[in-house]
Each structure stands twice: as C-alpha cells, then as structure tokens.
Symmetry: C2
Subunit: 306 residues, 2 copies
C-alpha cells in the first residue's frame, strides 16, 4: 500500500457540537488554521443548524467565511436540510455533509424525519445546489450504518437502500458512519463490500467513533478494503447525544501515526498536529483530550520501522 | 474465521506492577477469581522478582498458591531468572513467562543483562525446570520486539536471532511483545511472518500495549496473521517503567468484544468481565480504569451484527 489517504478533520463540528463548553470563535478559527497549516486539507468546520438546537455551532457562518480564505483547505459544513445547504452556499463552503440516518429511531431523534423523508430532502438540496452558479460538493453520511443505540441492529440491506436512494438523489459521494461506535472490523469489511457492490465508487469514506476502543482497528479494516478517506477529530473530541458514554471520534493524530507508519502518506506534519491540541485546550478548558500520541509523544521509531 | 482465541489476562502482573497503589492480597485473589469465573482461562497473577524492586509483587507466592486452586485456570507467573523459576515451581505455578529484551538498552535497564546473557539464563532455567518431577510450562516473551524507547528501531533480524536462541534454549513457546507500544499493524504482520518463518509454531502470542491507541488494530493484524493467543489487562491496566506516558496493556473487555463480534469465541462472559472492574477499583482506589466497554456498556448489537 502506498496511496495517499485523506484524513478529514471533523473536530470543529462533530467534536465541538456536544462539548460542555463553547469555544470562542477567534480561537476556533485559529485552531482550524493551525490544523490546516499542519497539513489537514479537509476540515469540517461547523454545522448549519438552528443555534437554539446546537448553540456551539451558532458561529458557523462566520467560521466558514474565515476558513475558506485559508490556503489549500477544503471547508466542509454539515447541513441537515435545504436551509442549511443554502446557508452553507451563501457563506462559501466548499462541500456540504448531509446526515441521513439509516435507522428509523435515530432518524426521528436526530432529524425529526424518516430516512425516506430525509432522502427526499437530499434530492431537493442537490437540485438546488446544482442550480447555483458556483460548484459546491455534496456528500451524504449514512448514519447508524453499523448499528443504532435506539433501534439496535441495522440490516445491511437497509444501508444499501439508503445508499442507493442517496445516489439517486444526486449526491457526489457517500460515507458510512458508525455514529454510536458499535462497529467491529469484520462488519466494516462486509458492509464496505456490500455497499460498494451497490453504489460502487460513490462510497468514499468511513466516519468512525472510538466508543468501544475499536476505532483504529475499524479504520485498519477500512483501509484494507480500499477506503481512502476517513473522518477523525484531533484529541478524539466528540461523541453522540444519543449514545451515552460515547467517547468521540477516532483520534486524528493517532490515525495519522497508524497510516504513515504503514506507508500510507497523509500529507500532514504529525508534530504540528499534536501541537494544535494546545489551541484546543485553550479554547475548551476542562475538556478531556484523548489520544495516545498526545499523551506519550511521537515514538522515536516513527516512519523508521517497516 | 471461527477458531477459539485465548485471551490471557496479565493485569495482576503487568498492570499492578507499576500501579501507584498496592492492591491488598485478598482483593487481588478475589479479583483473579472473578476473572477466572468470567471465563478467562489463563491469568498471569504475579512476578517472582525481589520485593525491594517491585513491592507490588511481594505477595506473588501467596497469590499463586491461592489461584492454582481455582478450577479451570492456568496460572502464569513472570520469572526473570532461575531463582524466579524455582520460586514459581515451588508455589505450583502452571507456566512461567520469561522476559527477554531484544534491544540491548532495555535488556540492561530491565534485567541488568545483555540479551545473550538472558538467553543463557533461559537455558539454565529450562534445564532446571525439565529436571523437576512436575511439568511446568515455559514461555519466553521477546520484549521490545517492535521498537524500544531507549534504543529506537529494533531490527527484525535481531528479533529472529533472539527467538531462535530461545527455542534452542528449550522454551515451549514464544511471545512477541510490544513493550513500549510503538508497533503498527503492518509491522505486526511483517514481524509475525518473519519470526514464524524462523521458529514456526513456537511463536504463539502477541503482548500488546495501547500506548498510541493502536492496540486493537495491532491485535486485529495479529489475528489475521493467525495468532490465537493475546495478552491483555482488564481496564487496560499497566504500562512500562521505561516508556513514559505508556497507557497500559490492551483492554481485555474491548479485545473480547472485538474477537467475539468477529466470530472468534473466547469462552468468556463479557458482562461478568466488565463487572470484575469493580473489584479492581475497590482494590486500587484512584487508579485510572480505561476501556470503551467499561464506560459505554455492551452494545445492544453485541454478537448480533455480522
């Protein structure tokens, strides 16, 4: 293996949205800039959702406007509906990420819609975006694809149905999201193959949580199945409001260490990434920062042991 | 994959030896008994080393004598030298584990011997053990096989040389130990293949630490290379005195979750394992208990999602 892997930082969105504290906007922008300078080329910087629902994301428009001006970074924003897509577009986001729960229970709890209703919304969003003069990417994330804390087991056939619906709705690309952290490596392999058999190269990404400690094992399985785009969060920030005890996204710096060690370049500077944890700590005092490398430092064998 | 995997609990030895507190002997025995009752069939219960060096292990003789009386559990004890092997034998241990550092720096720091001197000691130990009326297993662990915090990169050829020396010295089986947690999955695959090419089925085990967050990814790589015995510690207890910031062994309950989810039976009761964390917490108040399942609970899809 020697291909480039895209590590997409989602901490400013998926991490901060459920943090107890609220990161000041200037610190947030500085943190994102530091991660971009460390070589992360795709960063999900916020979420266009009502501020009364997610107050931590109230400054998303300002953050998008500030960060699209950074060199060499693709700025992503979550948009759950047409209004969100329009706001993302108006503020210059390069790509929107649309959450679409596969399980009925999570879909109703998170979006107040059925999966079918959300797919219909995605079709409206795609139609609107395609009609605008500027190009903006559209990715949909199949949430709860590996299981749901509300509905339990999620059938692979249900994931395929949602994925096919989203491709028909006009998205550019698809992610499979282990929203509540229930996935295991064999399941990753099976579901990636199954969904790819249905929608081919539209499936590009895994969004993994480290709830059960299996996050990087699941990423490894994904890499070995040919996935080359992964969401992660610096210091493993994040979780899920519907997954009690969920411990957040897979840790960006640990993921980078694993990939680079295996000969898969990420284009990042690991030391600079770890250093960016300090800005996160400054902006969110008291928040638990997770991760092996942040605690233990970079192994002296980094990139030297094959 | 549908073979049985042996999960060998090493928390009472590798975990407790560097804990800040000292677990009272009766609690230690109760904790070991609870883990045995939860289905762990091999438990490393202590270390026959001078009490002035590792005071937490001063009760190892008593713990071995108490736990060999438990039904259906193989009791292991670490023994770094002939004296330790004799003590282990005298107290009825079923198997000894002998640490043999591959790197010169770690060998001197940990054992005050060169690797070659330690291999010679292993030969003396094996000769003595074989001359006794009762059978006692002899396993050697190739420490720092994946890198060393003191010496840096450890050459695979050095690991092979130590492994071959240990087989010639008469051990029953070998482990590769990622003592300082530097390993990555590609390295696991390569080294397992390389060492197996040299010593065949004598290589049975991986001893992994989760220092960089890659512990279960490394275990996955090991499983896929055919390794069927893994050391782990309940709640991820442990670390290494020569690896600052090391965060301990891979987490027994998370490893069990991964293996069982993948259709590899471990013979354990996951709920009972998690419940045994309470005894650990009682015996070592203030110690950090790690692990995903201990925090988040057992996913409701456990063993239901293929």
């Amino acid at each position: 293996m020697s291909e480039q892997v895209m590590v997409t930082e989602v901490g400013p969105r998926d991490g901060l949205q459920i943090a107890a504290g609220r990161m000041p906007t200037p610190v947030k922008i500085r943190w994102i800039a530091a991660m971009a300078a460390a070589g992360l080329r795709e960063i999900e910087v916020g979420s266009f959702v009502p501020p009364r629902v997610v107050p931590q994301m109230a400054d998303t428009a300002e953050v998008v406007r500030a960060t699209v001006a950074l060199p060499s970074v693709t700025v992503l924003a979550l948009a759950p509906n047409l209004r969100g897509a329009q706001d993302a577009y108006a503020n210059g986001a390069h790509r929107i990420v649309i959450p679409v729960s596969v399980s009925e229970g999570h879909s109703r709890a998170n979006l107040n819609r059925t999966p079918a209703e959300q797919i219909a919304e995605v079709a409206r969003m795609a139609e609107w975006v395609r009609a605008q003069p500027r190009a903006m990417g559209i990715e949909a994330a199949c949430s709860t694809a590996f299981g749901c804390s509300i509905d339990g087991v999620v059938a692979p056939a249900a994931v395929v149905a949602v994925a096919e619906g989203l491709v028909a709705a006009g998205v550019d690309s698809l992610a499979l999201a282990d929203t509540v952290g229930y996935a295991h490596p064999a399941q990753i392999r099976t579901l990636v193959r199954t969904v790819r058999a249905a929608v081919g190269e539209k499936l590009v990404r895994l969004h993994l949580h480290d709830t059960m400690g299996l996050g990087l094992a699941n990423a490894l399985a994904g890499v070995e199945e040919g996935i080359r785009q992964f969401d992660s969060a610096l210091a493993g920030l994040g979780g899920c409001p519907f997954a009690p005890g969920a411990s957040g996204n897979i840790v960006t710096e640990d993921l980078v260490f694993m990939l680079e060690s295996m000969g898969l370049p990420t284009g990042t500077d690991l030391g600079a990434l770890i250093a960016a944890r300090a800005i996160l700590a400054e902006g969110l005092p008291g928040e638990t920062l997770r991760g092996g490398l942040g605690r233990a430092g970079i192994p002296r064998t980094y990139r030297l042991a094959a």
